[in-house]
Amino acid sequence: MTAQTLLGRAARSTERRREAITGILFVLPTVVIFGIFKFLPILGAGAMSLTDYQLNGDYTFVGADNYSRILQDDAFWQSLKVTGLYVVIFVPLIVVVSLAGAVLLHQMQRYTGLFRSLLFVPYLCSFVLAGIVWTWIFATDGPLNAALGGLGFGSVPFISGSQLLVLGSLAMVSVWKGFGYSMLIFLAGLKALPAEVHEAARIDGAGAWRTFWHITLPLLRPITLFVLIIETIVGFQVFDTIYVMTGGGPNRASHSLIYFLYDEGFKFFDFGYAAAAGVVLFVIVLLLSLVQQRTVEGRSQS
């Protein structure tokens, strides 16, 4: 072995060490921030959910008590039912609306940018702003009821009536605010589809509707899955509009999971119990996205 290769090896190993040191120095701020404010709270959520942690910091280990209590808590099941109903209304609605918007935009040859921007604008506002505007729109003496009255209908209690009506109205607000985002994702998917497939279908004499149903939609399946998952997660996290528009009412008709968690934590200061609710939320969201992925993948393989 010559001195030169030995020298080369030594130089390489110093260089490698220097590279590792730079790497570590550059990730250090992120490691510290994530360690304290992400990983610690995640571990903390699991640990706290096994205690009766109180506002003053006192706690005792209670094992799985919080979880058995949550399973017997009518308020929890009510919030789960509210959230489930809301997701069942919200998700299909936003997927259909954003897909329809994307298909229309995709057909357009001019002014695409203008229309795309106009349809996207509500996404920029906060759910609080959306809630305030739609509270006004939905009010008993608001513009929507005035329009319905003009058509000869009676007044509709959009956010104070039956549970389905209230959740439907809340879902409407979220669809209005959020569809622009999913629409852009669908639009990108449509643009990425090979043009030949559609041409072949047209030559075979397939109409626009048949082409859409039998060719476009199956080809868009991966994108639809992506949108379904993100919107389901968004649906499960519904809180802001409820906080602004109904306060969980009327009579807990819109008391969602996050609202339950918020109330237990910051109204009753039952932190251990609220942490358990957080863990349950995590498990539900995780399971749902896994199930969704399985179902859609399974269908695309058959």
Binding site: P29, T30, F120, V121, L129, W136, W176
Partner: protein
């Protein structure tokens, strides 16, 4: 059927490109034009309904306080009184300032720390690199609400409740930012880094004058989204800022909405909260569209 159709079509096109093409394309073109006109009309109606609630906010915010709550026609006179009055009501300027600090400071620190980490994760070999990347990406699966309580307790133990820094700190751990920038840095050509090293640039210099300028598009995109997320956030600011002084604009708006405030004042406040987001969009909309569409295709 289809075979006949295609063969007859190809036959006619070989017969005479000039005459054949014009007679065949004349009708489809006008039909297409008609379709486009219908489409434009349909989209115009949809766009109008989509934007209408926001137009209503603007009109109500600019209407005199005693105007009817449903404007049946445009008000006779518009006034800026509501907007100026809102700024004199209670702690509104403070809320606005809190939101601004929360959003802007978070954007700057998130982009700084995340791009540094992304550079190291994409370009440097060090022990534990892959495990770290994996751990950061895995946190994306945990909804923020699931860790709301422990995060609140942590911040309260640090004395951060009712302070703006308490509001900011937990939001600096932004996994999306790290992941997105890393993808971008990974795809930069190796030659650039070799050239920088040959030129004698140190690590910090390479990061500042080679990496940062090249990843400007992804930084611009993230700047918009992080700003919007923070500016529009409700739950976290609601639990951390419990005093009037410590509220952000969204929390303040939600509070105003439950108090007996005139429609024109609440709409004026809402309008003011919306203006920064709109300005940001107008300035940087190309980046927004690009980033959403590319994330969709990748997803």
């Amino acid at each position: 059927m289809s075979v006949i159709a295609t063969s007859s079509e190809s036959a006619s096109s070989t017969a005479g490109p000039g005459a054949g093409a014009s007679s065949r394309s004349a009708r489809p073109v006008s039909r297409e034009r008609r379709q486009q006109r219908v489409l434009t009309a349909v989209l115009a109606v949809i766009a109008l309904f989509t934007v209408a609630p926001l137009i209503a906010v603007v009109i109500l915010a600019l209407s005199p306080a005693d105007a009817p709550t449903i404007p049946r026609s445009l008000p006779d006179s518009l006034t800026l009184d509501n907007l100026t009055e809102v700024f004199q009501v209670g702690s509104f300027p403070r809320w606005f300032l809190n939101s601004l600090i929360y959003s802007v400071v978070s954007v700057v620190i998130v982009l700084g720390t995340a791009s540094m980490a992304a550079y190291a994760l994409a370009r440097k070999r060090f022990p534990g690199r892959n495990a770290l990347l994996w751990a950061i990406v895995a946190t994306l699966m945990v909804p923020v609400q699931a860790t709301l309580i422990p995060t609140f307790i942590l911040v309260s133990k640090m004395g951060g409740v009712n302070t703006v820094w308490g509001l900011i700190l937990p939001t600096l751990a932004n996994a999306q930012a790290v992941f997105l920038i890393r993808q971008f840095v990974r795809d930069l050509p190796d030659e650039l880094f070799d050239a920088a090293r040959i030129d004698g640039a140190g690590e910090w210099r390479t990061y500042v004058s080679v990496v940062l300028p090249l990843i400007r598009p992804v930084l611009a995109t993230l700047a918009i989204f992080v700003f919007l997320w923070h500016w529009n956030d409700l739950l976290w600011p609601l639990v951390v800022g419990q005093t009037d002084e410590a509220r952000t604009l969204t929390v303040g708006l939600a509070t105003l909405n439950t108090e007996t405030v005139s429609t024109s004042s609440i709409m004026a406040a809402a309008l003011i909260s919306f203006v920064p987001c709109l300005l940001m969009f107008v300035a940087l909309q190309r980046h927004i569209v690009e980033s959403i569409t590319s994330s969709g295709v990748k997803g």
